[in-house]
């Protein structure tokens, strides 16, 4: 969020009001509870997983209502730009924050994102553990 805004992206954050951290607006992002508004004209839609402790914490009534109110469906994706890509760091909860049709659709780059995420983590761990660029190339 901080990096994207630093690089000039127009970042919108959407979640139920019960899950939006206090002071989020001060971080330079736009905050909404209406998913249609967040998606409108977007270049990139990135979903995040609802974690189990959130599901059990009473932040929203039910997974069914979460999906009908906030879930990323094909219908909602149509509000974004025609060439918009769908991202998600995984693991995904099918039918909760994202519909399978969207996760597996042609606009989805989720598997690339996850593969790249593994490479990036490996590199960071390697460098933090004392590795050098030379050895890394070797």
């Amino acid at each position: 969020m901080l990096l994207l805004t630093k690089l000039g992206a127009d970042v919108w954050v959407c979640a139920p009001a019960t899950l939006i951290p206090a002071g989020l607006r001060q971080m330079g992002v736009r905050v909404t509870t209406r998913v249609d508004e967040a998606v409108e004209g977007a270049d990139v839609i990135m979903m995040l997983r609802i974690q189990l402790e959130r599901m059990q914490g009473g932040y929203f009534p039910s997974l069914r209502e979460y999906f009908t109110t906030f879930g990323m469906t094909e219908e909602r994706v149509r509000r974004a730009r025609p060439d918009a890509i769908i991202m998600h760091p995984g693991p995904i909860n099918r039918g909760v924050e994202i519909a399978s049709e969207v996760a597996d659709g042609s606009a989805s780059v989720i598997l690339d994102q996850v593969a790249n995420g593994v490479a990036v983590r490996m590199a960071v761990l390697y460098l933090l553990a004392g590795g050098t660029e030379h050895e890394a190339v070797a």
Partner: protein
């Protein structure tokens, strides 16, 4: 061409449009077409409004128990809306403590279907805050909203915990609907049955202190301030509660509130005399002391109170015909609210008719975000015609509600309802007022 009707020569009181004077009201089909002086008939059916009657936007009672589904021996949607229109209400909002609880779209749709079949007053269902009103997890509030609920509440009980009230205020704010709170700390209420004070002590009844209400109201006002949600404090009865609301409003908190006619007219003295232990004086919150009653009147006069609502709570004769301790809380109110308000607040000069219309029409519509509350061209033709000089004696044996549990039986008031019109259709007329529709 739709049917046109012209209400001629009445005193029109429409505070939302800054109107109080003699005007004609032209109705086209189910909508208001025009309000003005000496409107031409142009083929419209002319309805003469007798001198002295008041034409105002339809009254809305935002706190009633229609008991259907599940307790149809007390009231049904059909009998409830019939009582509503006889009492001058063109719309009612009904509480979710039915059986099953209105915590899902199926129950909401059933209530709306029954209301359509009855075809009298408009019915706005209110959904539960928590699943089964159990106070544990949020009900499917988005689903309730989509099905037609205009607010949520766990009425009969307060929202059980501060964390649930917080979540409810945050969650409802997404759907532009208020959280209506029945304020009552359950630990302080305990098994009380009457206001905690000298009267309850002398009658040997267990008390419910006024602060049991104010503590929960204070909690919810602070949470509304923190979350930006809208809390509506239902049926205030204690002076400490209205003080908490007044302070919240002065800080700009999104808080609104209502008072019931019995709490601005009666005190707990009625539990002792003329008939001691009359279970029709038992309701929740209870009748309190003069200081509390006078604080309700002061709040109505100074603008702190937004709404007069009835908390119409029908109970069957057999359920009330038991010892005071064992009787259910609640009294009916739909058919008496207008007479009580016109007599005790308007006739006495405490408030104007215009303020009464704000309290019973403009503000309920605004709080629930529903149509009505004004007579502007294009608005639904929901109209109440008041008869401020009509002498009314409350006779429970003639009540239209299925239940008769009123403490006002035999009381006389000056003021009543002449006619009620919903969507341009006459749904109630009182011939004693000279009104013919």
């Amino acid at each position: 061409m739709t049917q046109q009707r012209l209400l001629k020569g009445g005193r029109v009181v429409d505070p939302a449009n800054g109107r109080d004077g003699v005007f004609d009201v032209l109705i086209d089909g189910d909508r208001i077409a025009e309000v003005g002086s000496n409107l031409p008939a142009d083929g419209a059916e002319i309805i003469d409004v007798p001198a002295g009657l008041i034409v105002c936007p339809g009254l809305i009672d935002m706190h009633v128990h229609l008991r259907e589904p599940g307790q149809e021996h007390k009231e049904t949607v059909a009998t409830g809306v019939a009582a509503a229109v006889a009492g001058g209400f063109t719309a009612v909002a009904c509480m979710p403590n039915t059986r099953p609880v209105n915590d899902n779209a199926g129950v909401t749709q059933l209530i709306l279907q029954k209301a359509r079949e009855a075809g009298l007053a408009r019915v706005y269902p209110i959904g539960a805050v928590s699943r089964g009103q159990q106070g544990e997890e949020l009900a499917d509030i988005a689903e309730l909203r989509a099905a037609g609920c205009v607010a949520v509440t766990d009425d009969g009980l307060p929202v059980a915990t501060a964390i649930l009230a917080r979540r409810a205020l945050e969650y409802t704010s997404m759907f532009n609907m208020p959280l209506i709170e029945h304020c009552e700390d359950q630990t302080l209420k305990g098994d009380g049955v009457a206001h905690e004070g000298p009267v309850a002590a002398s009658l040997g009844l267990r008390g419910i202190p006024g602060v049991a209400e104010a503590i929960t109201a204070g909690r919810d006002i602070l949470l509304a301030e923190m979350t930006g949600g809208h809390v509506h404090i239902a049926h205030m009865s204690a002076w400490t509660t209205i003080e908490a609301v007044r302070q919240g409003k002065s800080r700009g908190v999104n808080v609104t509130c209502e008072v019931c006619p019995h709490h601005f007219t009666l005190t707990d003295d009625l539990l002792a005399a003329p008939v001691a232990y009359d279970t029709n004086t038992k309701m929740n919150p209870p009748l309190r002391e003069a200081r509390d009653r006078d604080a309700m009147i002061a709040g109505i006069v100074d603008g702190t109170v937004d709404v007069i609502a009835t908390d119409h709570a029908p109970h069957h004769y057999d359920e009330k015909n038991v010892e005071f301790d064992r009787a259910p809380f609640g009294i009916v109110g739909l058919e008496t609210a207008v007479s009580i308000t016109l007599d005790t607040l308007v006739r006495t000069g405490l408030i104007t008719v215009s303020r009464m219309v704000e309290l019973m029409s403009v503000n309920p519509a605004r709080i629930l975000r529903v149509a009505g509350g004004r007579l502007s061209p294009g608005d639904p033709a929901d109209i109440t015609i008041l008869a401020p000089h009509l002498q009314v004696t409350i006779d429970k044996t003639k009540s239209i509600s299925k239940s008769k549990n009123t403490p006002y039986h035999g009381w006389s008031f000056r003021g009543g309802v002449a006619a009620t019109m919903v969507g341009g259709k006459t749904v109630y007329t009182n011939p004693a007022t000279g009104m013919r529709l």
